[in-house]
């Protein structure tokens, strides 16, 4: 904000070229200064609208489920078997969407997440093929993901880049190249048993689908990672810092938040999510392909945006990001069941993303109205 011209004799009413012009005008006749009066009836309505918009992603998911339940043959969409399929097929995207959420919360983006998944897929399967060591295959895969995330974060912070777009675009290319090189461009068959179980197994103890079971182990991995992210974001100081950096990087520096460390940490966690996602994909297929993650960064980003995340930072939460990823999975599964050409899923995804960002515009509108109402009441 630039300084205003200094002339002590100018009447106060003229000096209103500040961001809060409306406030200055509406509050001139206020009864109670600084003090804030409780919101009146109108603002209560707006507040409930805002609350409803917060649950927007869950509402869309519910709507999709109902529509698919009605339209699929024999209501097959809502059978245990199919629900298990949706959960298993979405699991990988759910995990990397959570990683992407952390990054987007800090106003960033991790375009390399798809390559990271591909790299993880081939690192795991190649190591297992060559050493037959489960521990080595899983351990090095996780380390590779963490390392790729750390590289992203360090390039961003130490390279003093204004935005991670280019840095992660570069590591996207590097990761994809590395994956192709390690796998010699082909799919590698065979994965550790435990990876196969968690990527593609069903828990038979959970009743509903007879002896084969329906509830996928992969969903447990998603839940575990989601709880980890939730604890980080909601319960730890670390998460408060993540939201602070996204809300206002300037203010974060001024209030002593270790901004650089926070930025690196979210890319490291995103890298970890890529490795976990890769293990899930490997397990689901009992194989690793250097093309598994190609284009998957768009799914991860779309999931976060559908879940109400904002590229302006500081907005979004674990539940809504998961909901976003599930919406993508449900669309994919539903179009399949309804016999559409699979390519329609890309078009449908695009439409849902547009809907999601429009909902965000509506939300911003109501927030503005709420603010000016508050100013008038105060």
């Amino acid at each position: 904000m630039p300084d205003r011209p200094t002339s002590p004799t100018v009447p106060r009413s003229v000096r209103t070229d500040s961001p809060a012009v409306a406030d200055a005008e509406t509050e001139a006749g206020a009864v109670e200064p600084v003090t804030v009066l409780p919101a009146g009836g109108d603002s209560r309505v707006i507040r409930s609208v805002l609350l409803a918009l917060k649950g927007g992603p869950l509402f869309i998911l519910g709507l999709l489920v109902v529509i698919l339940w009605i339209t699929t043959e024999d209501h097959v969409f809502l059978t245990f078997g199919n629900i298990g399929n949706v959960l298993e097929q979405s699991a990988g995207v759910c995990v990397i969407a959570l990683g992407q959420l952390l990054v987007i919360l800090t106003r960033g983006i991790d375009l390399s997440i798809g390559s990271n998944v591909s790299l993880g897929c081939v690192v795991c399967t190649v190591l297992f093929r060559d050493t037959q060591s489960t521990l080595l295959a899983i351990g090095v895969t996780l380390l590779a993901g963490l390392a790729m995330g750390a590289v992203n974060g360090i390039i961003l912070v130490k390279g003093r880049l204004p935005h991670p777009f280019i840095a992660t675009l570069a590591t996207l290319s590097i990761g994809a190249g590395l994956a192709l090189y390690i796998a010699s461009g082909s799919t590698i068959i065979g994965a550790p048993d435990i990876v196969n179980r968690f990527g593609g197994g069903r828990i038979v103890q959970i009743p509903g689908a007879g002896s084969i079971g329906w509830f996928p182990y992969a969903a447990l991995v998603v839940v575990a990672f989601a709880i980890l992210c939730w604890v980080v974001l909601r319960k730890l100081l670390w998460g408060r810092w993540i939201y602070a950096v996204g809300g206002s990087p300037e203010a974060a520096v001024r209030t002593g938040v270790p901004v650089k460390g926070v930025l690196i940490s979210v890319y490291v966690l995103s890298g970890l999510s890529g490795a976990i996602g890769a293990l899930l994909f490997v397990g689901a297929a009992d194989a690793g392909s250097p093309f598994t993650g190609a284009g998957m960064e768009l799914n991860a980003i779309a999931a976060v945006i559908i879940g109400g995340g904002s590229f302006l930072g500081g907005r979004g939460n674990v539940t809504n990001a998961l909901t976003g990823a599930l919406i993508l999975g449900v669309i994919h599964n539903g179009l399949n069941l309804l016999g559409f050409n699979p390519n329609w899923q890309y078009i449908a995804t695009g439409i849902v993303v547009i809907l999601a960002v429009e909902l965000d515009v509506v939300r911003a509108h109501f927030e503005n109205r709420f603010r000016s109402l508050q100013a008038r009441l105060a």
């Binding site: 300084d3 961001p19 809060a20 939201y243 206002s248 926070v262």
Partner: protein, 258 residues
């Protein structure tokens, strides 16, 4: 008017403060003293260097030359955290609030209550209930009421946001509070309330540096005024009605004290 409360050693002394931005001299050899229980007004036209000086004292910028003394001891303020640890609090023009966080989180931004202390800071568990209770306590003490403690600051009006920012600085300050145009975006009565907070601070024995373009407000609460012009200190006078004309002419550059 509060000379009786002043002690011999200033809370803050700045000597020969110089700050360059490339070829631009933002601050040129500025001296300044503030005592406990004193309100010092920092005056000057656009680009006079007021905000730069405040940012240097609050650790956001580093001085290229010059020294900062707190309670008679030289300090090196290389970060905002260090300044805060030295008891210096700042309310910036743009408030430095986090729109996406609620008032409690804003209040404790950068000094969250979290434990246990043997863990690295980032991994500590937030004491959300404790912070909420203390925020309520502090706002009560300052007689600031908020309708909803759990609403994001983004949902609050300009006046409400200003109240939170000022209250935050006031609540945690121990020695020196700097306010960069705290009343610029406020209506008449809200401004009065903020000025009342400033007076309450002074009465508590805190040193206050106030940047304001409103000569009325300066006359109302300040004990002394310092005028900057193109980065240099060109005048200093007690903020009394007799000196008002003098201060104004320094600001607009009609005459120089030097």
């Amino acid at each position: 008017m509060s000379a009786t409360r002043m002690t011999d050693t200033p809370v803050l002394s700045v000597r020969g403060a110089t700050k360059l931005f490339g070829a631009v001299v933002a601050l040129d050899d500025v001296d300044l003293d503030v005592h406990a229980g004193e309100v010092l007004a920092l005056l000057g036209d656009n680009g006079a260097g007021k905000s730069t000086l405040v940012k240097c004292i609050s650790g956001v910028h580093r001085l290229d030359r010059g020294e900062i003394w707190i309670d008679g001891a030289p300090v090196h303020l290389s970060s905002a955290t260090q300044a805060r640890e030295n008891g210096i609090e700042t309310v910036y023009q743009d408030l430095a609030l986090f729109d996406n966080l609620n008032p409690t989180a804003n209040f404790f931004a950068g000094r969250e209550l979290a434990g246990p202390s043997w863990l690295p800071r980032g991994l500590r568990w937030l004491d959300q209930r404790g912070m909420r209770a203390r925020t309520q306590q502090l706002l009560d003490r300052l007689q600031v009421r908020l309708p909803d403690f759990d609403a994001d600051v983004a949902l609050m009006s300009g006046g409400q946001r200003q109240a939170i920012a000022v209250a935050r600085a006031v609540a945690f300050s121990s020695k020196l509070v700097m306010l960069d145009e705290p009343t610029a975006a406020l209506g008449l009565r809200e401004s009065a309330k903020v000025l009342e907070l400033v007076r309450r601070l002074r009465d508590d024995g805190v040193a206050v540096i106030l940047i304001s373009h409103s000569m009325d407000h300066v006359m109302e609460v300040a004990d002394r005024g310092i005028v900057l012009r193109r980065g240099r200190k060109i005048g200093e006078a007690a903020a009394t009605p007799e000196n008002q004309q003098q201060l104004v002419s320094w600001i607009v550059g009609a005459q120089s004290a030097a």
